[in-house]
């Protein structure tokens, strides 16, 4: 870690615009590692709980009557200039998490789907959900030294369209993680200007709704 060893270095008094980028991925894929490698603070952890008031009462006859959903997530931060602060969230790709997506990550600039090429299937659900939510994203393959795959093989395995950028990275490496973020923001910028075949941003078609219902 560099100079920012205190976990709560204060922001500048002029800071007034918080921005969000989410790093999504399966367990152990390196989300926190990536957040840590570019964050100016040691990554912090917090959680959100959603109590399903009202609805839960009706389902007490069901199996474990789960009345609340809790997800934990890590985050770090990057001060971009005297006014803008970028928060990076490392978010689990599991089902219950998506239940809280709108509540937590509405207004997110975009997402990085971090994948381990040895476990590509772990990313299917996250990609599907991001498309469903209309959140623009890129895919970054964290290098775990596994067998090499061609870009085409990975795209096919992920059913990824050509207009979604796909990059390789080493999440432990600051400049590599920085490059991933820059690639994402450049992609967003291109989309916002309508340069890229802009359909990838908010594809309304997407699969039949797989509602991430934690209760039923």
């Amino acid at each position: 870690m560099d100079s920012a060893t205190s976990d709560r270095a204060a922001l500048q008094a002029t800071a007034d615009n918080g921005l969000k980028i989410v790093v999504v991925g399966g367990f152990g894929v390196g989300k926190t590692t990536m957040v840590r490698s570019v964050s100016e603070i040691r990554p912090l952890n917090t959680e959100e709980t959603m109590t399903r008031a009202g609805e839960a009462v009706d389902h007490l006859d069901g199996v474990q009557s789960k009345t609340s959903t809790t997800v934990a997530f890590d985050f770090g931060r990057i001060s971009l200039d005297e006014r803008s602060v970028l928060y990076l969230f490392g978010a689990p790709g599991q089902e219950r998490f998506w239940f809280l997506w709108d509540r937590l990550f509405s207004g997110t600039l975009g997402a990085v789907v971090l994948v381990d090429t040895r476990r590509l299937a772990d990313s299917w659900y996250a990609i599907d959900r991001l498309e469903h939510h209309g959140t623009p994203f890129i895919v970054a393959c964290n290098d775990f030294g596994g067998p090499l795959h061609t870009e085409q093989q990975i795209r096919e395995a992920l059913d990824l369209s050509d207009d979604v950028p796909l990059v390789e990275c080493d999440a432990r490496d600051r400049s590599s993680s920085k490059y991933v973020l820059i690639t994402l923001v450049e992609h967003l910028h291109a989309l916002s200007q309508g340069n890229a075949s802009a359909t990838s941003a908010a594809r309304p078609e997407i699969t039949p709704e797989k509602t991430p219902e934690p209760t039923s």
Binding site: R77, S84, H189
Partner: protein, 120 residues
């Protein structure tokens, strides 16, 4: 309310106590990255979490950082913040990425982000 147990896995009762029994409020106004700034000093008799928030937020502090520091769920912190906002003890700087659902962010903001990232 009678037993004190350390850590955030306290009985849910405690969370309700912190928020005066509410589990929701108009607190959705607080985004995870809304920056909170104290507008007054902590006063004697204030709830300890409120005191902590006011001390933390002498400089702008994001909602999510407050939650992490208090070890409380974000939704609980949002309720406490809306109380503090209603009584003028804090001010809130909301994100400017007009959070229109499914809309791409403003190109100007993205350019600023790019400059900031490249300068890292």
């Amino acid at each position: 309310m009678t037993r004190r147990r350390p850590g955030r896995d306290d009985a849910p009762d405690r969370l309700y106590t912190l928020t005066g029994g509410r589990s929701r409020s108009g607190s959705d106004a607080f985004d995870l990255v809304t920056l909170v700034v104290s507008e007054c000093e902590p006063a004697p008799g204030m709830q300890s979490e409120h005191v902590t928030i006011l001390r933390m937020c002498t400089r702008p502090t994001a909602v999510v950082e407050i939650a992490a520091s208090l070890g409380l769920p974000v939704s609980i912190v949002r309720i406490m913040l809306s109380d503090l906002l209603d009584t003028g003890r804090i001010s809130a700087r909301h994100p400017r990425t007009a959070r229109v659902a499914d809309r791409l962010p403003d190109p100007d903001i993205l350019e600023q982000v790019l400059v900031g990232l490249r300068n890292l």
